[in-house]
Each structure stands twice: as structure tokens, then as C-alpha cells.
């Protein structure tokens, strides 16, 4: 063979090699960086976005369509009285540090989450657990104090993932789970890296490495995607730029549902919002379509209550609060505020809040309510609004799935205290019959809608912008997650 033909053969081979093997690394961008890496101890949604299903798994798990399927528990038996759940765990599952995942770990995780001093952000998920008993290494029995129809659903949350006592000390900076990816590195303020877990019990993922980047600035996000610095952006912050990506053959745009009910949260204990007439007036002053078009460029579904429209149990209650500024003015006059009043409108950083806030302030001004806008960073918002409850109005998206239960907690930041509603929720938690549950959920939705607890705006849409060759990304966000286990590049 002459040198030239050898060279051609080699380069032809090289060419074949590059075309035949698909890329196995990915750079994912999300808006916010997680403050720590412990999904069972921190409230930040970003923790789950990075780690859920990738690094940590629970007894059950959410699929892309929101269904709950077996996770680390292969199967389960529910006793006749609905109080005892016996989980059969998968065999051969190990944590990333090599220790085996067995019934002791499940007991440890659940007991830790529901302990008195637990910092778990969703302790309510575990409230009904009376006892966790280890039967044998592969079997664990959970006894409930009362029936709980959503127990298996609760166990799928990112806050209920299984952790190991051996690695719990350092979980916040070095998470060790059972998932398809192991945590490798976290350069704070820059990136977080995951590597494929070759000892994974399930199907091996197609990707070998994954890098998460955190870009909250909409302009920087646009530039990063356009320059192909990132392969996929989950929760792209500038909806106005989506048509441009849609028109570009290099990219695909997925617009999915989230569990994010975006609401004009109202401080129900602060006068004049303790008066239902005033709250109704606020609700009638709002023009949802204008907010969706103006703040979200048309992406979003109007809601009339605190419930996701794609949920089969959703009740359309938009009729309770049509846009009717004249009626709103009448109601205000009836409540004794014929000349209107002044209140505060505190806005966290996302564009749905900042832009939506300007629109709502203008709509409220039309009926005589002067809402003074204050823009806050997330940390300030959590401090002033969420903890200190020092606000009149605020706009925020509640992204937890099926979270109507927050209305039963009078200490929750919007401070809605209604014993009828609390009774309905109590009954719902103790009911397992699906038809009965639907009825109770409808009743709960109707009560808060007719009480105008908050201004119900729209269901947040989540836009994902990805390179055209990527497959297997979640379109919807049934829970905050960027599940990479099924993601692959087409060849």
C-alpha cells in the first residue's frame, strides 16, 4: 500500500468512526444553581432539577407523563385496611460508594425525613407514617397512622429519595445515591458534573458524562444556546425568543406543562385583603390573557383555582373570576374602598413575576388599587415574603405537584385559615377511593376559588430548547427534574 492510499484509508476510517458513534456527553443549562445537594434537606427546586432520578431515587418515581411507577421498590402490597404498605426492594442495588441499598437504608431515610429535627422541606409527605419496620434486607414495612390515598405518590417526590447513613454527613456537598449517574464535581458558581454509574441496577444510560450549567440571565441564556455552548436549556427564561429557535433547524423547542400554578399571592391576614370582597375585586380586575400574552408571550394556560389543568381532577373555575373591572370597582365600593387603596406588590426575579407584576399593577390601577412594585432577589423574597409575611401581594409559581394542601396550613405565607377547607383536606388525605377523592379534590378547588384566596393566573409552561439531535428529554415537568437516564444523541 502506498503512503497515500494508507492515509486515505486511515482518514476514511477516522471519518467513519466519528459519524458512527454518537456523542455521549451533554451540557445542560438550568436557570438557578442549587444552594446545596441534599434533596431531603433543602427546599430549592434546583436541587431536584439536577439530582432527581439522575443521582437519587426513591421507592417510587415519577415518569415524564407524571405517572408514578416502581423505583427502588420493585413491588408492594397494601393491607386490607390501607394502613400497611409492604415494599419488596430491588435486589443488587448499591449506592455509588459501593454499600448495598437495603431495607435499613429505607428505614433510615424515612425516619430521618420525618424526625422532629428534620429539615425536610416537605415533611407533610411523611406525616402519616407511624412506623417503618425492617422485615428482612429486601423487605420493608411502612405502617400509616391513617389511610393516605397519595402515599405512593408522596414517596415519588424528590424529598423522599433513599439516602445512606454511611454518606449522610457529606450529602450537601457530595451526594451519594443509587441513580444511573454518580456525582463527580461541583464548581460553585460555574458547573456541576455527573458521570455514568456503571454499576447501575437498571438500563445503562446512553450518556457517559453530563455537565450542568446555571444561567439565570435571559440574555446570557439566549447567547449560550445560540452559540451552542449548551446542548439543552431546561426552563428557558425568555419565552419571547422561542419562535427564533423554532425557526432554526439546529434546535428543537419543547413547550411542556409544569405543576407550577402561577398565582397572585395575597396576604389573607393583612387588611384590606382579609375582606373577601376585596379579594374578589382583585380577582376580577385581573385580565389573565393579557398577562399570559404580555409576560409569557402566549405560553401558559389560564387557571381559576390552585390546580394543574392537565390533572384529570382539575375543575374549570375560570367562570368565578372573569375580567370585569366595573364589577371590581363596585365590589371595592361595597367593601368600603370606593376610592381604592394602596398596597405592596413584591416581585421575585423570574420574568413571569417581573413582567406579570407590571401588567397586574396596571390592571389594578384601573380599578383604583395602587400596587407599589418592589423587585426582590430570591433570598430577600424568601426572607421578607415567605418567612416574615411582610407583603400585600406577590407573584410566584408554586411548582410542587398536587400542592393544594398548602391552603390547609394557616401558617403558610398567604395565611388562609378556613376550617371547612381544612376538614376537606383532612378527609381527602384519609380517603383512598378514587371517585371519592376526585369529588373531594373538586370541592377543595371550588372552596379556594370561591373564597378568592389568591389571584389565580396561569399554569406555568416550561420551554426546553435543545439541539436537534437530542432524544428522550422530558417535555413536561411533573416534578422539578432533568431526567437524563433516557436521553441520547441520534447518530
Amino acid at each position: 500500500m502506498t503512503f497515500l492510499t494508507r492515509l486515505t484509508a486511515v482518514s476514511a476510517f477516522a471519518l467513519m468512526a466519528t459519524t458512527a458513534t454518537a456523542q455521549t456527553d451533554i451540557t445542560v443549562a438550568i436557570q438557578l444553581e442549587p444552594p446545596n445537594l441534599d434533596p431531603t434537606g433543602g427546599a430549592a427546586q434546583a436541587i431536584d432539577s439536577v439530582l432527581y432520578s439522575n443521582v437519587f431515587e426513591g421507592l417510587t418515581r415519577f415518569m415524564a407523563d407524571g405517572s408514578v411507577v416502581p423505583g427502588l421498590a420493585e413491588s408492594w402490597d397494601i393491607s386490607e385496611d390501607g394502613l400497611t404498605y409492604t415494599f419488596a426492594l430491588r435486589s443488587g442495588v448499591t449506592f455509588h460508594d459501593g454499600t448495598a441499598m437495603d431495607a435499613e437504608d429505607v428505614k433510615f431515610s424515612l425516619d430521618r425525613a420525618r424526625a422532629e429535627d428534620s429539615t425536610n422541606a416537605q415533611k407533610g409527605l411523611f406525616a402519616d407514617i407511624a412506623e417503618v419496620t425492617v422485615i428482612d434486607p429486601q423487605t420493608v414495612e411502612v405502617t400509616l397512622s391513617q389511610q393516605n390515598g397519595s402515599f405512593l405518590f408522596n414517596m415519588a417526590w424528590g424529598d423522599a429519595v433513599i439516602v445512606a447513613p454511611e454518606s449522610i454527613e457529606t450529602i450537601a456537598s457530595n451526594p451519594v445515591g443509587t441513580g444511573a449517574f454518580t456525582f463527580t464535581d461541583w464548581v460553585q458558581g460555574d458547573r456541576l458534573e455527573l458521570t455514568r454509574n456503571d454499576a447501575y441496577w437498571g438500563d445503562a444510560p446512553a450518556l457517559e458524562t453530563a455537565t450542568f450549567r446555571f444561567i439565570s440571565d435571559p440574555t446570557a441564556a439566549f447567547a449560550a444556546v445560540m452559540a451552542e455552548d449548551v446542548d439543552v436549556f431546561v426552563g428557558f427564561p425568555a419565552p419571547e425568543n422561542l419562535p427564533q429557535f423554532e425557526a432554526d433547524p439546529r434546535f428543537q423547542v419543547l413547550v411542556g406543562n409544569t405543576e407550577g400554578e402561577t398565582i397572585l399571592s395575597t396576604n389573607n391576614q393583612m387588611p384590606p385583603f382579609d375582606n373577601v370582597l376585596v379579594r374578589e375585586a382583585v380577582a376580577l380586575a385581573i385580565d389573565r390573557q393579557a398577562i399570559i400574552d404580555g409576560a409569557m408571550f402566549g405560553y401558559g394556560t389560564p387557571i381559576g383555582t390552585h390546580f394543574a389543568p392537565h390533572n384529570p381532577d382539575y375543575v374549570d373555575l375560570l367562570g368565578n373570576s372573569p375580567h370585569d373591572p366595573d364589577r371590581a370597582r363596585e365590589l371595592l365600593a361595597e367593601a368600603g374602598f370606593a376610592d381604592g387603596f394602596t398596597t405592596t406588590l413584591k416581585l421575585p426575579p423570574p420574568s413571569y413575576a417581573r413582567r406579570g407584576g407590571e401588567i397586574i399593577a396596571a390592571q389594578l390601577r384601573e380599578v383604583g388599587i395602587e400596587a407599589e412594585i418592589t423587585n426582590l432577589e430570591w433570598a430577600q423574597w424568601l426572607e421578607e415574603v415567605f418567612k416574615a409575611k411582610d407583603f400585600g401581594l406577590t407573584i410566584v409559581s408554586h411548582t410542587e405537584p398536587m400542592d393544594i394542601g398548602i391552603y390547609a396550613n394557616p401558617d403558610y405565607y398567604f395565611q388562609y385559615d378556613n376550617i371547612v377547607f381544612q376538614a376537606v383536606m383532612e378527609k381527602l388525605n384519609a380517603t383512598t377511593d378514587p371517585a371519592m377523592r376526585s369529588e373531594l379534590m373538586a370541592a377543595a378547588q371550588t372552596i379556594i376559588s370561591e373564597d378568592y384566596v389568591n389571584g389565580y393566573l396561569f399554569q406555568l409552561a416550561v420551554p426546553t430548547v435543545a439541539q436537534a439531535g437530542l432524544n428522550g428529554l422530558w417535555t413536561d415537568q411533573p416534578t422539578a427534574a432533568v431526567d437524563l437516564t433516557g436521553v441520547s444523541w441520534s447518530e
Partner: protein, 271 residues
């Protein structure tokens, strides 16, 4: 008079007129949003197009001119009101400890980048137009203090001051009656320059969300709001951007021209 002076004066007059006109009339009401008409290109109905909420950009520019001019004017006012007396005092007491304290205090304020301190002030006391005025105003104080001291020092050596002293006038009266009138021209020139810097600082603070809060119109915030819209509606960014450039350029040209005309030092050179 140079051509550039007339251009500067014309630009400045235009924006002052727009701001004054906005008190009585704007093409549209910017308080009410008109979402269906958002992001329109400049056309016959909306001369400069509409923004992301369907507000008329021309009206926004007019209202924004009011904010910018008010903030910059008050900030320069603070600088002159506090800085000039300090400078005159330092000059009158030149060489004493008081002079040292005033001038080193000025150096201290000068040592910090003005915008960083402005961010600090608005971060601590909350973002508002008032705090922006205070923040920008504080940084005008040393500018005027130093300039007035520098201009006053040589005057103190002049014969007419000596005459005034012989006539029995104290340092305070001399500063007010003889020194101040002789440095007024300089202060006017510097005031014009600081005014343009004030416009720029207000726009910068509003751009990062620390200036005037919505619904008060502000050029800087218009620019910030338009940031992600540049690809689909470039006019939303170009118009406030060019407005800021035109206003600052106009004031600088005006200041340059005024200096040629008013500055006594340059006047001596010419004769």
C-alpha cells in the same frame, strides 16, 4: 461660537422641551397597557413603535426624559449646594487643618468608584429615584468642592481681594461677594458636564434595576427590558439607547462650547 455648541444646545433644548411637554401632553397614556398592540415597529400611529406591553415608546421616552433630567438636575444641585461652600471654605482656610480635612475627605469619596457606591446606597436603602438622586449627588460633592477650591486659591492672591480685606471684610464675606462671582462660570461649565454624567448614572442604575421603579418611566429600564427583545424587536432597544447617547452627547457638546465661551483661563489665552 462653534457649530458643535449649537448642536449640543439644540439637542439639550429638544429633550428639555420633551420633558416639559410631558407634563401637559403625551401621545398616549403610559400607565395603561395595551398588550394586543405590543412590539409594533415605528409606524404612523406609534411614531416610535410600542414596547413589550404595548406602550407607546415616544410617550415613554418623554416621560423618561422627565425622570432622567429631574434625577440629574437634583444630583448636580446637591453637588453644587454642598461642594461649592466646602471648596470655598477650604480655600479661605487654605493650609490649615480644616483645609486638609475637607480635601482629604473629598479624596476619600473620590477613591470609591461612584457607581459601586451608588449600588451600595440603593441596595441598603432600597431602589428608588430618590435614593438614586442621593447616590449620584454625593459623588458630585467632591467634584465641585475640588474645582471651586482650585479656582478660588489664585483669586485669594489677587489685589482686589487684598483691597477687600483692607476694607475689613472677613473671609466668609469675601468668599461670598468676591470669590463666588468669579468662579460661577466654571461651575456652570462643570455643572453641564456633571449633568450629562448624572443622566448616564441614572440610566445605569435603572438598567440594573436600582433606579426609578416601575411604573415610572426610565430610559435605563427601557433598555434593560428590551434586552431579550433585541432579536425580534430591535427598535425597543435602539430607541432608548440612542436617546441616552443623544442626550449625553448634547450636554457634552454644550458643556464644551460653554467652556470655550465662559472659562476665564481660556479667555486669557485668546486675548
Amino acid at each position: 461660537m462653534k457649530l458643535s455648541f449649537y448642536i449640543g444646545a439644540a439637542l439639550t433644548a429638544l429633550f428639555l422641551a420633551l420633558a416639559a411637554l410631558s407634563f401637559v401632553w403625551t401621545p398616549y397614556d403610559i400607565q395603561s397597557l395595551d398588550i394586543p398592540n405590543k412590539l409594533q415597529r415605528p409606524n404612523a400611529t406609534y411614531l416610535l413603535g410600542t414596547d413589550q406591553f404595548g406602550r407607546d415608546i415616544l410617550s415613554m421616552i418623554m416621560m423618561g426624559a422627565r425622570t432622567s433630567i429631574a434625577v440629574a438636575l437634583l444630583a448636580v444641585g446637591i453637588g453644587i449646594a454642598a461642594g461649592v461652600p466646602l471648596g470655598l471654605l477650604a480655600a479661605a482656610r487654605r493650609g490649615t487643618w480644616l483645609d486638609e480635612v475637607i480635601m482629604r475627605g473629598n479624596d476619600l469619596v473620590f477613591a470609591f468608584p461612584s457607581l459601586v457606591i451608588a449600588i451600595l446606597i440603593t441596595a441598603v436603602y432600597g431602589a428608588s429615584a430618590t435614593n438614586a438622586i442621593i447616590a449620584i449627588g454625593i459623588f458630585n460633592i467632591p467634584v465641585f468642592a475640588r474645582l471651586s477650591r482650585g479656582a478660588a486659591l489664585p483669586l485669594w492672591e489677587r489685589d482686589f481681594i487684598l483691597a477687600a480685606r483692607v476694607a475689613g471684610k472677613g473671609p466668609a464675606r469675601i468668599s461670598a461677594e468676591h470669590i463666588l462671582p468669579n468662579i460661577t462660570n466654571l461651575m456652570i461649565v462643570q455643572g453641564t458636564i456633571q449633568f450629562s454624567l448624572g443622566i448616564l448614572a441614572e440610566a445605569a442604575l435603572s438598567y440594573i434595576g436600582l433606579g426609578a421603579q416601575p411604573p415610572t418611566a426610565s430610559w435605563g429600564r427601557m433598555l434593560a427590558d428590551a434586552q431579550t427583545l433585541t432579536a425580534i424587536a430591535p427598535h425597543t432597544a435602539l430607541i432608548p439607547g440612542c436617546t441616552i447617547i443623544a442626550m449625553v452627547l448634547g450636554l457634552n457638546l454644550l458643556g464644551d462650547g460653554l467652556r470655550d465661551w465662559l472659562d476665564p483661563r481660556l479667555r486669557v489665552d485668546r486675548t
